[in-house]
C-alpha cells in the first residue's frame, strides 16, 4: 500500500491542472521565522525572484467539434487526466489508455507492463477468475448432490475432495491488482493496418460541458477552439447553454463541489447526475452519488429517487440530494454578460438520503 501511494504521488501530483511558479522554476519560498529579520529578507528576495519571471502557462488546447469537447494531444490528455481527473478517453473506460493497451496486445512495446496494468485488463482478468471459480463450484455442487443421493462411486469421491481443495485455493486468491499475462494473443483482422502503418493514437479525451467550462472559466487551464477560432468564457457559456438546457444547473453544482475539493465526475454509470471521489478514481471508489433537484421543480417522482437510491446504495455509496435554489426571476441565459455575479444568485443545499429499515437499525 505504501509503495503504491508513493507511486500515485508521482503519477497524480496535483488536484488541478495548474502549474505553480515554485514548481516550474524550482524556487521554493523559505519559511519565515518571525524574530529573525534575515529570514524575512531571504523570503522577500525569493519572492521577487519569482515575481520577476513570467507566470508559467501550460494551457491545454481543446477542440469543440459537433458538440463534443476533444483533447487530441496525448500529453495534454494525460495532463488533464492526471491533474484532477478531467474527461474520459473516447476508446477507454476512463483514463485514455487505448494506445498503451493496444501496443501491449500487439507486442509492439518492449515495456508492455504499462498497457497490461490498464484498469480494463485487470477487470477482464478478475472476471475470468470469477468465471473459473463459478465453474468449479458448479462441479462441486453437482457431485455433492450425487453424494446426498448416495450415488457417488469411489472415483467421484476422490474427485470431489480434489475439487473442494481447488475451490478453497481459488477463494484464497486475492483479486488481481496487476494483470499477469495477456490472455489472448490472437490478432484481429483490423490489427493488420495498425501493424503496417504503425500505431497512431486514435483516441481523444472527451470532456463534459461542465468540465470544459470549469477548466476555462474557473481555472483558465484550457483554451477552446471552434473551427480554429478561440472561444471566450462568455461565448463558451452561451454555447453550453444552447447544447444543454440544464447546463447552468449542472454547472452550479459541479463548481460547488470542485471548489470544495471533491473530484466530481459524471454519474451516468449509476443513474445519478454526478459522482464524488475524495481524490480521484484511482485512489478510491466514489463515496457519494449526487442527484440534482431544482427547488423550482414542483413534482418529484420519489419512485425514481428510490430506484436511484437503491442502485447507488447497492454499490456502497451514499445518495446526496442537491437542492439548487435558482434566481427567482427568470433570467435569459443568452443575454448574461457577467457570469460570476450570475453564479452568486444560486444556492446549493445538500441532503443525504438513506434507506432506513427499522428492524435492521435497532442496535
Amino acid at each position: 500500500m505504501g509503495k503504491r501511494s508513493k507511486n500515485f504521488k508521482e503519477l497524480y501530483p496535483n488536484p488541478v491542472p495548474i502549474t505553480l511558479s515554485t514548481d516550474a522554476y524550482g524556487i521554493n519560498l523559505p519559511d519565515i521565522i518571525p524574530h529573525n529579520p534575515i529570514s524575512w529578507l531571504i523570503f522577500g528576495l525569493r519572492y521577487l525572484q519569482i515575481q520577476a519571471k513570467s507566470i508559467p502557462s501550460n494551457v491545454v488546447r481543446v477542440d469543440f467539434e459537433d458538440d463534443v469537447f476533444k483533447v487530441l494531444d496525448p500529453t495534454d490528455m494525460n495532463r488533464l487526466w492526471s491533474h484532477g481527473f478531467f474527461g474520459k478517453g473516447s476508446l477507454s473506460r476512463s483514463d485514455p489508455n487505448w494506445a498503451d493497451r493496444t501496443s501491449a496486445r500487439l507486442g509492439l512495446d518492449d515495456d508492455t507492463q504499462q498497457g497490461r496494468n490498464a484498469s480494463e485488463e485487470i477487470t477482464k482478468q478478475r472476471r475470468e477468475e470469477r468465471k473459473r471459480f463459478k465453474l468449479e463450484r458448479a462441479k462441486v455442487q453437482n457431485l455433492e448432490l450425487k453424494q446426498r443421493q448416495g450415488a457417488l462411486n469411489e472415483d467421484e469421491e476422490v474427485e470431489l475432495n480434489d475439487l473442494r481443495e481447488t475451490l478453497n485455493n481459488l477463494k484464497k486468491i486475492v483479486p488481481a491488482r496487476k494483470a499477469i499475462s495477456t490472455t489472448s494473443n490472437s490478432l484481429r483482422e483490423e490489427d493488420e493496418v495498425l501493424l503496417i502503418e504503425g500505431l497512431d493514437n486514435l483516441e481523444y479525451l472527451q470532456l463534459q460541458a461542465v468540465e470544459s467550462f470549469y477548466l476555462k472559466f474557473a481555472l483558465g487551464a484550457i483554451d477552446i477552439f471552434e473551427q480554429n477560432e478561440s472561444l471566450s468564457s462568455l461565448e463558451l457559456f452561451k454555447k453550453c447553454n444552447s447544447i444543454d438546457s440544464k447546463f447552468m444547473l449542472n454547472y452550479v453544482v459541479y463548481h460547488h463541489f470542485r471548489s470544495l475539493g471533491w473530484c466530481a465526475r459524471s454519474g451516468i454509470k449509476f443513474g445519478c447526475d454526478m459522482l464524488l471521489y475524495k481524490r480521484g478514481p484511482p485512489f478510491s471508489h466514489a463515496e457519494f452519488g449526487i442527484l440534482i433537484i431544482p427547488t423550482k421543480q414542483e413534482f418529484i417522482n420519489w419512485i425514481d429517487v428510490s430506484s436511484v437510491a437503491r442502485v447507488v446504495g447497492g454499490v456502497k455509496k451514499n445518495l446526496v440530494l442537491c437542492y439548487v435554489d435558482e434566481p427567482i426571476e427568470d433570467i435569459e441565459l443568452s443575454e448574461v454578460s457577467d457570469i460570476a455575479s450570475l453564479l452568486k444568485l444560486y444556492k446549493v443545499t445538500e441532503i443525504l438520503y438513506r434507506r432506513w429499515t427499522p428492524s435492521k437499525s435497532r442496535d
Binding site: T123, I268, D273, S306, V308, P358
Partner: protein, 290 residues
C-alpha cells in the same frame, strides 16, 4: 362464482374476510396485508388482516365483474336494523371473552377478602368488560336491499386523489391479463412488480414502469437495479401511431378540462378505464456485469 364483497372503509378497500382473501388470490389479486398482529404488536414486518387492495386491483375486479364495492358503514347500518335482539345474541360475532376466565377471576376475588362495596364494584367492572369484548365480523352474507349499500366504481374513484390513474391502469391491465400477479413496486423503484404466479411460490420477474416521459438516465438506473436483483426492467406504453401523436392528445384533454367546469360533463372515467388500448412493452437488462 359469487361476486366478492369489497368493503370501502374511508377511501380504501379493506378485506376482513379470510374466505374472500382466498377467493381473490385465486383470481390473481394478492393485495397487501395491513393489520397489526395482536400477538406481536411491536413489529411491522409480518402483518395480518385486513387486506388492503390497490386502486388498480379494485378497478380490475369491478370491471371484470369479480367483485362488488360496498359501503362498509351503510352495510352495517342495514345489518343492525335487520337483526332483532335474538339474532344479535347468536350470530355475526365472535366472543373472544372466555367464561372460564370470569370464574377464575371471581374465585380470586373471593380469596382477596375485599369489603362488600369493593367486591360489588369489581364485579360490575367485570360485567362491563364483558360487553366490550366482542368483535363483530363484517360483511359475510349479502343482505337484501343490496342497492342501498353498494357503491358504483366512479363514486369510489372520486373519493381519493390519484395521479395518471387511467394510463397506469392500462399498463396494469395489459400485464395482469397475461396472467401475471402484480404487487406495488416501490420497494424496487418501479410502479409495479410482476410475478409469474403466486408471490409465495415465485420471485418477481419484472419491475414494471410506465413508458411516458422517462429520461435515458432513468433507464441506466432501472436496468442496473433490476439486473442487480435478478429481474427485468419493463416499460409499457401506449403505441402511438404518427396519426395520433401523444402531445396533441394531451393538449386536447387539457382544453376539455378547462371547459368542463362550466358546461360539459366530465368524460366518464369508467369508460376511459375499460377502453381498448394498444400497448407496447420492452424489457431492459444491464449487460455490463461479468
Amino acid at each position: 362464482m359469487e361476486k366478492v364483497f369489497l368493503p370501502v372503509v374511508g377511501d380504501k378497500v379493506l378485506i376482513f374476510e379470510l374466505e374472500d382473501v382466498k377467493k381473490l388470490r385465486h383470481l390473481g389479486i394478492v393485495g397487501v396485508l395491513s393489520g397489526t398482529l395482536s400477538a406481536a404488536p411491536q413489529q411491522n414486518v409480518f402483518l395480518g388482516l385486513p387486506l388492503q387492495l390497490s386502486l388498480e386491483d379494485v378497478i380490475w375486479l369491478v370491471t371484470n365483474e369479480h367483485g362488488i364495492l360496498i359501503d362498509s358503514a351503510k352495510y352495517h347500518e342495514v345489518e343492525a336494523a335487520m337483526l332483532n335482539q335474538a339474532d344479535w345474541n347468536s350470530s355475526q360475532r365472535i366472543c373472544v371473552h372466555d367464561p372460564k376466565q370470569d370464574e377464575e377471576l371471581l374465585k380470586k376475588l373471593a380469596k382477596m377478602n375485599l369489603s362488600d362495596d369493593k367486591l360489588i364494584l369489581k364485579k360490575k367492572q367485570l360485567q362491563e368488560n364483558k360487553v366490550e369484548n366482542f368483535i363483530i365480523i363484517p360483511n359475510v352474507t349479502p343482505l337484501p336491499n343490496i342497492d342501498s349499500y353498494t357503491i358504483p366504481l366512479d363514486k369510489f374513484l372520486s373519493l381519493s386523489n390519484h395521479h395518471e390513474l387511467i394510463s397506469n391502469y392500462q399498463v396494469y391491465r395489459s400485464v395482469k391479463d397475461q396472467g401475471f400477479f402484480i404487487l406495488p413496486g416501490i420497494r424496487f423503484g418501479g410502479k409495479y412488480i410482476g410475478y409469474p404466479n403466486d408471490p409465495l411460490r415465485y420471485h418477481a420477474h419484472f419491475i414494471i414502469n410506465q413508458a411516458t416521459d422517462f429520461k435515458l438516465i432513468d433507464l441506466v438506473a432501472g436496468g442496473r437495479l433490476a439486473t442487480g436483483v435478478k429481474k427485468v426492467w419493463v416499460i409499457v406504453g401506449e403505441h402511438s401511431t404518427p396519426d395520433s401523436p401523444k402531445k396533441v392528445e394531451g393538449k386536447k384533454r387539457d382544453a376539455v378540462e378547462v371547459d368542463v367546469d362550466q358546461t360539459e360533463p366530465q368524460p366518464d372515467i369508467v369508460d376511459q378505464l375499460t377502453k381498448e388500448s394498444k400497448l407496447k412493452s420492452f424489457s431492459i437488462e444491464w449487460a455490463g456485469f461479468g
